[in-house]
């Protein structure tokens, strides 16, 4: 997994199947009512990322436009920054292809195309599919009356095949028919006839009569429990929701008095469940029908199962356990359907009725509409329980698309979210700023709609979030507990309301993102203009940022404009128009340094030899072997004692830093790794790998080992598939895992050789710079002994600059080509200016190879 795929759920229908003692397997409900036929779905293999592939292959003469040209249509105003809407165009077009296939089916008699038939006007409200369907050959007056097939299959066959055996309890149910796949998480009743393990301290069956109080308590308790369930059961869970910040904002802390409907339902259910310990329904299975492209099959199916199918089924199961929710609703739906069928009513009209009456059906409809459009579904099961579902989307990528591998245009291009493997730094969350993807007021209004209780507090937080200040600073300034801040941040990020970025700063450099979505430009210009009407236009801004990279400051005409320009920058950042140009550097070791170090080492060797000789002479009966041994030992000793003081100190400090780092890491990593702000979910594995390996390094360091650090075995599982997949793309993220202290090709200076050279004739001429080639130190943190000496030597050249000399070891930590120089200041708690001065000092000395990218 390298390039994040554009979000595309490929969801085409949701089916609810139950197995009961009285009715057997039964397809209770499906949505949309007019489902596309499986044959049509199978035929629609159009890949998501070349939305106009069809046109190029057939016409071939249409010469230009981006691959995503369709996304302009549904864009408007500010929401071009919203992740979801950006891609809905691409999706929309794949829908369209699907529709055209279906249309074809319509005219092919008997091609399983029952669904090609027309829908009457009634479906206008429903908006089941796009309009192309409705313009059909409406002959039957009442619309569709086909009650017997779904997806082109006979209902009885389908309901049987979608009821797997008990072995599939809580397992993934996955069945493919041609290229259509049915994914579900079947839930079975327990042996004892309950849907949930009974909690010991609650004896609910006996206490029917104690109504209100108990119910409230239960509702509250119940609300917590699915959360517990989820967070406890798997590691894929985003994070433990803090009280009051659960998905959908509305969930949890329900107001005291449950509405009449609920209490009714509750008491009903209770009487039901107490009445028979032998429940009717034994299994339910919510099946999601997808047709993913072949190459994305595993990913799409996994996404759907992990994020939607399983969670939705769990939520339903929880409701079922509370008051027979699923079965009662199912009976209701079956009943309505049965009556409608007998009365010869139209399908779509009936569906409208079902949706109006049954919250379960409604929830499925909402889920379908949102997920099939790659949005977030806010599902209300009943008055006391609602929650949200989504397939998380990548919010940034370090990879630039090329002509052969396009990716989501407009995706934020940066390496700042990339987890550096073998790395133990605390995540940058505290030092990052939060960039809201919507206006704070819009966001707050959204929240108000969802939740009454915490709005004030949330609004306070949200109003205070500004993209130019790190979370740490904001929380300090407004006396917000840092942890709260982080919770809010991860929450907003997970639910696509915000992004974590490096705080915007006028001293930083920004360029037009090579991944900017130019097809959005026409829509973005007026949106921009309405917001920043008196300032340079969007094309002007882009033009300004296109030249030789300069600090953003240089575009700001006067100090008064600063705020407005920073607003512009935030706006541009939000839309993925710009990205920060970050600086990376490696230490370059010049031949002179190498020669000096080699000379030093030789001298030491000579001195030691002389020492040994003297000692040998002094000891009367020193045996040869002993001296040899001691020689060896002393040389070993010297190798470690001679090691410069600075690295020693550095390592100790490192160790502290790293321990601290891992601690915070341990505290935060589940949270961060799961919220997905570090990129696509598939990268979670690599972040795991990262943290384990970092743990390893910490151990090695704290055990005080001074030997050459053995680079931790690269976590192959995260790296190999990548390399197999695209060997022509050397990726920094993965290549980096290869041993950083690889044997240098220039052998003259490698320790073994110098040792043998020193063992030889001691009067070899002092090494001259000509015999060395300049080279880079790829990872100063893991420098071998020779490299460490070079670094120390370089540090000594800063004699005139005490400040620089003092901070050299600190700087070294960031000079590995993976840490941006811009990050030094927040990480090390130094002033920006100071860091810049230090960095320039080193740079002017010619000790660095500097490269700038995002």
């Amino acid at each position: 997994m390298a390039l994040p795929l554009p979000p595309a759920s490929n969801l085409h229908a949701i089916l609810l199947v139950t197995q009961s003692r009285s009715l057997g397997p039964r397809l209770v409900f499906h949505y949309p009512p007019i489902s596309p036929s499986a044959a049509a779905l199978a035929a629609n293999k159009a890949p998501v990322w070349f939305a106009k592939e069809a046109t190029t292959s057939s016409g071939g003469s249409e010469s230009s436009s981006s691959d995503w040209d369709s996304s302009t249509e549904n864009e408007g105003g500010d929401d071009d920054a919203e992740v979801g809407s950006r891609t809905s165009g691409g999706r929309g077009s794949s829908w369209r292809t699907g529709a055209s296939h279906r249309d074809k089916d319509k005219y092919r008699p008997g091609a399983g195309g029952v669904w090609g038939r027309s829908i009457d006007e009634e479906d206008g409200d429903l908006e089941v599919e796009n309009g192309s369907k409705a313009s059909g050959n409406g002959k039957q007056k009442g619309g569709i009356h086909d009650w017997d097939t779904v997806l082109g299959f006979k209902v009885d066959a389908l309901e049987k095949i979608l009821c797997p055996g008990k072995a599939f309890n809580k397992r993934r149910f996955e069945m493919g028919v041609e290229s259509v796949v049915f994914v579900g998480a079947p839930m079975f009743v327990r042996e004892d006839g309950l849907w949930k393990k009974r909690k010991k301290r609650r004896k609910r069956s006996a206490e029917d009569a104690l109504l209100a109080n108990l119910k409230i308590g239960e509702a509250k308790k119940g609300d917590g429990s699915p959360e517990e369930d989820r967070s406890g059961s798997t590691s894929t869970e985003p994070f433990v929701y803090p009280e009051g910040f659960e998905p959908g904002y509305g969930h949890g802390l329900i107001s005291g008095a449950p509405s009449g409907a609920v209490s009714e339902a509750g008491s009903d259910a209770r009487s039901n469940s107490t009445a028979d310990n032998n429940p009717d329904m034994t299994m339910f299975n919510v099946v999601f029908v997808l047709n993913p492209p072949a190459l994305e099959y595993q990913l799409r199916v996994k996404d759907m199962y992990d994020n939607i199918s399983r969670k939705y089924a769990k939520a339903l199961k929880y409701e079922q356990a509370r008051f027979q929710y699923v079965w009662k609703e199912s009976k209701r739906i079956i009943d309505i359907k049965q009556r409608a069928k007998e009365n010869g009513e139209a399908l779509t009209a009936t569906w409208q009725k079902i949706l109006a009456i049954s919250p379960l059906a409604k929830s499925i409809a909402i889920l379908f509409e949102a997920i099939s459009n790659d949005k977030i579904a806010h599902v209300h099961f009943d008055a006391t329980f609602n929650t949200s579902f989504q397939i998380p989307q990548a919010d940034s990528t370090p990879y630039l698309p090329n002509a052969l591998e396009p990716q989501m245009p407009g995706l934020w291009l940066t390496t700042s979210n990339v987890v550096i493997e073998d790395e133990s730094d605390a995540p940058m969350t505290q030092h990052a700023a939060l960039l809201l993807l919507e206006d704070p007021e819009t966001l707050i209004k959204d929240l108000e709609g969802d939740n009454k209780n915490n709005t004030a507090a949330l609004a306070f937080y949200i109003r205070n979030i500004i993209p130019t200040k790190s979370l740490l600073k904001i929380s300090n300034k407004h006396n917000i507990v840092a942890q709260d801040m982080e919770y809010i941040a991860s929450h907003l990020v997970y639910w696509r309301r915000a992004r974590l970025i490096a705080p915007l700063h006028p001293r930083d450099t920004y360029i037009v993102s090579p991944n900017a979505d130019l097809s959005n430009l026409q829509a973005a210009i007026p949106a921009y203009a309405s917001r920043f009407s008196t300032l340079p236009t969007l094309p002007k801004m882009l033009s300004m940022l296109s030249g030789t990279p300069k600090p953003y400051r240089s575009f700001i005409p006067t100090a008064e404009h600063r705020e407005a320009y920073m607003d512009i920058l935030a706006w541009l950042m939000r839309g993925g128009w710009v990205t920060q140009l970050r600086t990376f550097a490696w230490v370059r070791v010049s031949p002179e340094i190498k020669a000096q170090v080699a000379a030093d080492m030789e001298r030491e060797e000579r001195v030691k030899k002389a020492d040994d000789l003297r000692r040998e002479a002094a000891s009367d009966n020193g045996s040869m072997t002993e001296s040899l041994l001691s020689d060896k030992r002393s040389s070993l000793l010297s190798a470690s004692t001679i090691r410069p003081a600075t690295p020693l100190r550095r390592t100790r400090r490192d160790r502290d830093g790293e321990e601290e780092g891992t601690e915070t890491n341990a505290a935060l990593s589940p949270l961060v790794a799961a919220t997905g702000w570090r990129g696509s979910p598939a990268r979670a594995s690599s972040s795991d790998a990262g943290s384990t390996s970092s743990a390893r390094t910490t151990i090695a360091l704290s055990s005080g080992a001074q030997q050459r650090p053995i680079s931790p075995a690269p976590p192959s599982h995260s790296r190999d598939p990548q390399q197999q997949q695209r060997p022509q793309r050397p990726s920094p993220l993965h290549l980096k895992t290869t041993s950083p202290s690889r044997p240098q090709p220039f052998s003259p200076t490698s320790p073994s050789l110098t040792a043998t050279a020193a063992a030889g004739p001691p009067q070899s001429p002092p090494p001259s710079p000509q015999s060395f080639a300049p080279s880079l130190i790829l990872n100063p943190q893991k420098a071998n002994s020779t490299e460490a000496r070079w670094l120390e030597k370089i540090g000594q050249t800063f004699a005139h600059d005490a400040d620089l000399r003092e901070h050299w070891p600190m700087l070294l930590r960031h000079l590995d080509g993976r840490h941006a120089i811009e990050d030094i200041s927040p990480r090390e708690g130094l002033k920006r200016k100071r860091v810049a001065a230090l960095f320039n000092g080193v740079r002017e000395g010619g000790w660095l190879v500097v490269v700038r990218h995002w």
Partner: protein, 562 residues
């Protein structure tokens, strides 16, 4: 294709009295428990739980590819139901299913094999009762009585072991051959042969644009037979040299542009090509985040040093002449393809498992021989001539806003013995450099009337430049069709006070567009910020400088790059 991905193959039949039964399985014991000594200890999954629903499903699901996941295996079958009077209950239902691990990413390829097998067996059965005859001979189902207590599928101890059963032999051969060679050819009788091959699923090719520059990653000229009977493909192949754009190739080969694009799309699909941008010294290149990979990776650096080195005879006069693409073209010729990327070549070969695709003959095309020989000679001394530090310094000094020309001037002393074009191309191919494309967007509030005279003159030259007039016409048609849709929504989307003026302006812009359409110079349509300069220049057949001049003439246009 992962090796030995097929864990098992089994043949299931539905018997009108005895129900569904696994008749043959390879390896033994993989599906149902077997008493054979070589059998697997435990079956891969519990077949009884799924056999009736998913292996022999409802007839609704017959004659379709049916895959089902159980116990971390994916069972891929193609249940077949033959309705004919000669069978009992007029039905003959069977399924020849493959088992792969659930995580196999490209299981669709195995699905295609299962589908083909199912259909072939159906044909064989309908023709010559290939499957049912074996049963009539009485061994398969009767054994059931003997081992009856063992229940389903315990019978193979007595009937399954090779020897007689053709179907069992078929299972065995398919499993072994597909796992070992990814293909198989099994003669059934005089007139029938089963040919199967696992085709890896490939990503659909991207659209090809006229301004892209294809570079071959394998040496197609080394193939003895023409790779295709596609005339366009054969004509354009000699012109693919890593320098010419698609439009230029079409012109050189005298082929239709859209056909050329399609042919190149084919090559892309099979991974024989990568697409670059048009190289010029006016272009801007900058490193991507993957530059770190280049710095760290020794082997890539060596490959690079080998690739960018100017061949020996040119040493001494190395300083590249600015803008002298011509001189490079003279030598670029065919050797471009020879050493681009060994890694992608090997990748390609690992994917193609057909014997015919293996063992590429050395490149014997006339021009490249001399070069490659010379390269080999000078390999040792000269690969040292370009140090890794030099390469790193050169690559890292590229940046946004710096044209290649100026960059060369800045780094002249480092560029000794280095072919600048190859240096850049290498970075693009490996993905650690990117071309910063220039775009133009019209923002003007006052569009001056386009100078008709100059436009016309250019338009004629444009038409001359393109050999294929009809092709151009189609291109243009496609674009113009889109213009109104681009302009209209923007015109509507101005709510602010300036809206009316804007709308008016749009009308003017529209009129300009129509004007230009008549004149055959649709320059304005490129000024929506979605077309890079490469594209504009290619489409209009003008040099960048001319285009820039024209654009200034159009009015207030912002040029930006990304």
């Amino acid at each position: 294709m992962p090796t030995r991905a097929i864990k098992a193959i089994f043949f299931t039949r539905f018997h009108h009295e005895k129900g569904s039964r696994v008749l043959h399985q390879v390896p033994e014991g993989s599906i149902t428990p077997s008493s054979s000594p070589s059998a697997l200890r435990t079956p891969l999954f519990d077949v009884d739980a799924i056999i009736n629903t998913y292996i022999i499903p409802n007839q609704q699901f017959c004659d379709r590819l049916l895959a089902f996941c159980t116990n971390h295996y994916r069972v891929i079958g193609y249940p077949v139901c033959i309705r004919e009077g000669r069978y009992s209950r007029n039905e003959f239902i069977f399924n020849f299913a493959l088992v792969v691990e659930e995580g196999v990413s490209d299981w669709i390829a195995y699905g295609e094999v299962a589908r083909k097998l199912g259909r072939l067996l159906r044909g064989l059965e309908e023709q010559g009762e290939f499957l049912s005859r074996e049963e009539e001979e009485g061994r398969v189902w009767e054994d059931d009585g003997a081992t009856g207590g063992g229940g389903l599928g315990d019978g193979e101890g007595s009937f399954g072991l090779g020897g007689g059963s053709k179907v069992f032999a078929l299972c065995e051969m398919v499993l072994e051959d597909l796992n070992n060679y990814a293909e198989c050819m099994i003669p059934i009788d005089d007139s029938n042969t089963i040919n199967l091959k696992l085709f890896p699923t490939r990503a659909p090719p991207p659209p090809i644009y006229a301004h892209q520059v294809p570079v071959l990653t394998i040496s197609l000229s080394s193939l003895h037979t023409p790779i295709s009977s596609d005339l366009t493909l054969n004509r354009i192949l000699p012109h693919i040299n890593g320098i010419s754009s698609v439009a230029h190739i079409a012109q050189l080969a005298d082929t239709d542009l859209s056909l050329t694009r399609k042919a190149i799309q084919h090559l892309v699909y099979y991974g024989c090509l990568v697409l670059l941008d048009i190289f010029s010294f006016g272009a801007v290149y900058a490193p991507t985040a993957e530059i770190g990979g280049f710095v760290v990776d020794e082997s890539v650096k060596e490959e690079c040093a080998r690739y960018v080195r100017v061949p020996r005879m040119r040493i001494g006069s190395i300083k590249p002449k600015l803008g002298s693409v011509e001189s490079e073209r003279s030598r670029g010729g065919t050797d471009e393809r020879s050493s681009i990327s060994s890694s992608s070549r090997s990748q390609l070969h690992s994917e193609h498992t057909t014997p015919s695709d293996r063992a590429p003959a050395p490149d014997f095309s006339t021009t490249s021989v001399s070069w490659s020989v010379r390269d080999a000679d000078s390999d040792d001394e000269e690969s040292n001539a370009i140090s890794h530090m030099t390469l790193i310094t050169l690559y890292t000094s590229l940046r946004q806003g710096l044209t290649l020309k100026n960059w060369v001037l800045e780094n002249v002393e480092l560029l000794g013995g280095i072919d600048v074009r190859r240096l850049i191309t290498f970075g693009i191919i490996k993905g650690f450099l990117y071309r910063v494309h220039k775009y133009a967007i019209a923002t003007s509030t006052s569009l001056p009337p386009a100078p008709p005279a100059s436009l016309q003159s250019v338009s004629t030259s444009a038409a001359v430049n393109h050999n294929d007039v009809s092709d151009q016409a189609t291109i243009r048609g496609g674009h113009l069709a889109r213009i109104p849709s681009l302009v209209a929504p923007t015109a509507n989307a101005f709510p602010h006070p300036a809206g009316e003026r804007r709308a008016e302006e749009m009308v003017r812009l529209n009129s300009l567009v129509s004007e230009e359409r008549e004149q055959g110079l649709p320059l304005v349509r490129f000024l929506d910020g979605m077309h890079c300069f490469d594209e504009i220049c290619t489409e209009l057949g003008m040099s960048e400088r001319v285009v820039e001049g024209k654009i200034r003439g159009v009015g207030e246009v912002q040029v930006f790059s990304r």
